[in-house]
C-alpha cells in the first residue's frame, strides 16, 4: 500500500498535475465562495473539457474542485452571512456572529485549520480503507452488484428530499431515461421514437447541466430581482490563538469523525452529514448553551464535518463504484466517459490512477490551507461581483459544455427540457440528485440485473439466495422506511428538513 502511495505521489507531484490541482483548488474555492453555483453544476460543466486530459489528471481536477468548494463555502458564511455552499449553512450561525464581534480572523483561521485536519483524516482513511474494501467487493457477483446499486439508490432516495415517494419517483425517472437508446445486449432501439439522435441514449452531462447549472441561473436571477446584496465584513488578522485552537480541538475531532461516518453513506452528502454532526455536538459538548452566541466551536465543528464528509463520499465511489451524491455521481459519469469501469476492479486495473488521485488529495488539502488562510479577503471580494453579470456567463459556459459533447442541436433542446423540469422539481421539492444517480447507474444496474437472471435461469429469487444481496436489499428497504420511523425523532427530522431547505 505504501509503495503504491509513494508512486502516487510521484504522479501527483508532476508539475502539470500539480498545476491542475492548484487550478482545481482555485476554481473550487471560487465556486464555494459564490452562492448559487455549486460543485455539482461546476463538475458537470467541466466534464466536456477533460476529454483531452489523461484520466489521472482529469480526476485530480474534478476532485480538487469538489473538496476545494468545501473550503470556500465557509468564507461567505462568516463574512457575509450567506453560505457559499449548502454544507456551510451551520457555519453562518456562529461564524457571522464572530465576524460582527470583530473576530472574523479567528473564525476564518479555525475554519481553514479544521477543514485541513478533517480533509487529511478523510484521505488517510481512504488510503487504509480503499484497497481492502475493493478487495472484498471483488467477491461480488451480478446479484450483489444489483443489490448494492439498489441499496445506494434507496439511501439516496431516503436521505435527500423530505418525501420518500417523491424521491422514488425521481429515481425511477432517472432510471427510465437511462433506458432510452440502443439496448447493448440485444441491439434493439428503445424509446427512440425513430429519432436517430436518441439511439446513443441521453447523455447524463446534458441532463446534469440542465438541472443544476441552468436551474441555478434561473433561481439566482429571481433572487437578484427580489433580494438585496449583503455587506461584506473584512477580516483583519487571520489568526487564532493557541488557547482557542485547543478549545476547538474536541469539536474538530467529533465533527471529523461523525462527518466521515455519515458521509460514507450514499446520499448523505456533506450537507446532511454536517447537520447531523452539529446536532450531535450540541448534545455532547461542554456548555452547549454557548453554541449560537459566537462560539468558535460552532465554526470548527461544521467545517470539519463537511470536509470529512466530502472526502468520505469518495470511499464508496472509488471502491464500489457507488457515488455518494450529486457531485460524486458526476465524477462517476466522468470515469465512465474516460472509459474506466468504476468498481472494485479500479484498484487492480487502474491502481496508478487511483493512488495518484489519493496522493493529490494530500497535496490538495495542503494547497487549500495555504490558499484559504492568507488569501481569504481576496476570495471574499469575488462576492462583490454582481450576480447579474456572472449568471449569463455561467449560462454561456454551460451551453458550450453541452454543445461540445457532440455538436448536436438535439442536446441543447434536451438541456432546455432538463432545465425546465429541474426548475419545477426544485420548486416543488422533488430532489434532483436521485434522478442524476439513476441516469448514471441505470445502464450498469440493468446489466447486473439481467446477468443475475441469466445465471439463475430467470428466477428472481437469486437476489434473496445470495446472503450479501439479501442483506443489501433488506438495508435498502430499511432506508426507504427510515424517514417514517425516524420522523418521530425530532432531531433527525429537523436536520433533514433544514439540510434540504439549505440545499
Amino acid at each position: 500500500m505504501f509503495e503504491h502511495l509513494i508512486n502516487g505521489f510521484g504522479v501527483a507531484l508532476q508539475p502539470f498535475n500539480l498545476l491542475i490541482a492548484l487550478v482545481g483548488c482555485l476554481i473550487g474555492t471560487v465556486i464555494g465562495v459564490l452562492p448559487g453555483l455549486g460543485p455539482t453544476a461546476t463538475l458537470a460543466m467541466l466534464i466536456p473539457m477533460i476529454f483531452s486530459m489523461p484520466p489521472a489528471t482529469a480526476l485530480i481536477l474534478l476532485t480538487s474542485v469538489y473538496y476545494g468548494s468545501m473550503y470556500g463555502g465557509s468564507t461567505t458564511s462568516i463574512l457575509v452571512n450567506i453560505p457559499g455552499e449548502s454544507a456551510s449553512v451551520i457555519t453562518t450561525i456562529d461564524g457571522h456572529k464572530m465576524a460582527m464581534q470583530g473576530r472574523a480572523g479567528p473564525a476564518l483561521a479555525i475554519a481553514a485549520i479544521g477543514s485541513f485536519m478533517a480533509g487529511t483524516f478523510a484521505v488517510v482513511m481512504l488510503t487504509f480503507l480503499g484497497a481492502p474494501v475493493a478487495e472484498y467487493a471483488l467477491h461480488f457477483g451480478p446479484a450483489e452488484f444489483f443489490a448494492l446499486m439498489v441499496f445506494g439508490l434507496a439511501t439516496v432516495a431516503s436521505l435527500t428530499g423530505t418525501n420518500v415517494t417523491k424521491s422514488v419517483v425521481t429515481t425511477c425517472l432517472g432510471l427510465m431515461i437511462s433506458t432510452v437508446g440502443i439496448d447493448l445486449v440485444s441491439g434493439v432501439p428503445r424509446y427512440t421514437f425513430g429519432n436517430p439522435f436518441l439511439q446513443d441514449g441521453i447523455d447524463f452531462v446534458v441532463v446534469a447541466i440542465g438541472m443544476f447549472a441552468f436551474t441555478e441561473v434561473i433561481i439566482t436571477a429571481r433572487e437578484v430581482r427580489e433580494g438585496t446584496r449583503a455587506e461584506v465584513v473584512k477580516a483583519q488578522s487571520i489568526w487564532v490563538s493557541w488557547k482557542e485552537f485547543v478549545y476547538s480541538l474536541p469539536s474538530i475531532a467529533r465533527g471529523t469523525l461523525f462527518g466521515f461516518l455519515v458521509g460514507m453513506l450514499p446520499g448523505a452528502g456533506a450537507t446532511l452529514s454536517t447537520f447531523i454532526a452539529y446536532n450531535l455536538e450540541k448534545r455532547i459538548c461542554k456548555n452547549p448553551e454557548l453554541l449560537g452566541t459566537g462560539d468558535i466551536r460552532g465554526v470548527a465543528n461544521p467545517e470539519s464535518a463537511n470536509n470529512a464528509a466530502s472526502g468520505a463520499s469518495l470511499v464508496p465511489l472509488l471502491t464500489l463504484g457507488l457515488p455518494g451524491g450529486g457531485a460524486t455521481a458526476i465524477m462517476l459519469g466522468a470515469l465512465m466517459m474516460l472509459d474506466i469501469t468504476p468498481g472494485p476492479l479500479m484498484f487492480e486495473k487502474h491502481a496508478g490512477m487511483i493512488w495518484a488521485l489519493i496522493a493529490s488529495m494530500y497535496v490538495g488539502n495542503a494547497l487549500l490551507l495555504f490558499l484559504n488562510w492568507p488569501l481569504v479577503n481576496i476570495f471574499a471580494r469575488i462576492m462583490t461581483v454582481p450576480a447579474k453579470y456572472l449568471m449569463p456567463i455561467v449560462l454561456v459556459i454551460s451551453t458550450i459544455g453541452v454543445w461540445s459533447l457532440s455538436y448536436s442541436e438535439v442536446d441543447l433542446i434536451l438541456t432546455a427540457g432538463a432545465g425546465m423540469l429541474g426548475y419545477y422539481m426544485r420548486m416543488h421539492k422533488y430532489p434532483v440528485e436521485p434522478l442524476i444517480l439513476g441516469l448514471i447507474l441505470g445502464g450498469r444496474m440493468e446489466q447486473a440485473y439481467r446477468q443475475a437472471l441469466i445465471i439463475s435461469k430467470g428466477s428472481n429469487l437469486v437476489f434473496l439466495q445470495h446472503p450479501i444481496s439479501l442483506v443489501l436489499l433488506i438495508g435498502a428497504l430499511l432506508f426507504l422506511f427510515l424517514p417514517a420511523l425516524l420522523a418521530r425523532s425530532k432531531q433527525f427530522y429537523m436536520a433533514r428538513k433544514t439540510s434540504v431547505e439549505a440545499a
Binding site: 427510465m176 458550450i400 454543445w403
Partner: protein, 183 residues
C-alpha cells in the same frame, strides 16, 4: 354511512403531479410493448424486462401521490394531517389564477424565453451573435439600465469566451450569420 362527516375534496398540486406520473408510466409501459424482441430465448430477460419493472414502480409511486392513502387515513381519523413535511399544498391553479400568475411574473417568463431562445437559435444564428444578444438581454432584465455597460459587457464577454474556447480549447463554435463575412 349515517353520521360520518362528508369529506371535502380539493384537488391538490401533488395529486395532479401523481396523475401525470401515472399517465407517463402507462405511456412508458405501452411503448415497452413496441420494443422488438429479436431472438428472444425463454427465461432470459430481454430488453423490456427492466423497463417493465421501472414502469410499474413509477406508476405505483404516481398512484401513491394521487391517492395519498396516509392522508386519507388521517382525515378519516380526524387527526391534523401534518405528516407531510411540505408546506400546506396549494390547490392546482384555476384558469383565472393562472392568468394572474403569468401577468405578475412576466419578467420571470421573459428570462425563460430568452434562455430557451438562445439554446434553440444559437446553432443557426451563430455563437457570437446569439451570445452577445443573450448577455445583453439577460443583464438588462436583471436590472442593468446603463446601455453602455450592457453593450460593453455583452461584446467583451462574448469576445473573451469565444477566444478562450474556440481558439484556445479548439471547441467548434458555430459562426452562423457571421460565416459569410469570415470567408
Amino acid at each position: 354511512m349515517i353520521g360520518m362527516n362528508t369529506i371535502k375534496t380539493k384537488i391538490t398540486r401533488m395529486q395532479v403531479e401523481g396523475l401525470i406520473i401515472l399517465l407517463v408510466a402507462i405511456g412508458y409501459l405501452w411503448e415497452a410493448q413496441n420494443v422488438p424482441l429479436l431472438f428472444q430465448t425463454p427465461g432470459v430477460p430481454g430488453p423490456t424486462t427492466f423497463p417493465w419493472l421501472l414502469g410499474i414502480v413509477f406508476g405505483v409511486s404516481g398512484m401513491w401521490l394521487l391517492i395519498s392513502p396516509h392522508k386519507l387515513i388521517a382525515r378519516y381519523r380526524k387527526k391534523a394531517a401534518d405528516e407531510d413535511e411540505d408546506a400546506p399544498e396549494a390547490p392546482a391553479p384555476s384558469g383565472a389564477a393562472f392568468g394572474k400568475i403569468v401577468t405578475r411574473d412576466w419578467h420571470f417568463y421573459t428570462i425563460w424565453a430568452v434562455i430557451l431562445g438562445y439554446l434553440v437559435l444559437m446553432p443557426s444564428l451563430g455563437f457570437p451573435v446569439a451570445t452577445a444578444l443573450l448577455i445583453a438581454m439577460f443583464v438588462f432584465l436583471l436590472g442593468e439600465q446603463r446601455w453602455w455597460v450592457v453593450a460593453g459587457l455583452a461584446l467583451a464577454a462574448t469576445t473573451v469566451i469565444y477566444a478562450g474556447f474556440a481558439l484556445g480549447l479548439r471547441v467548434r463554435l458555430p459562426l452562423g450569420v457571421l460565416e459569410p463575412l469570415m470567408k
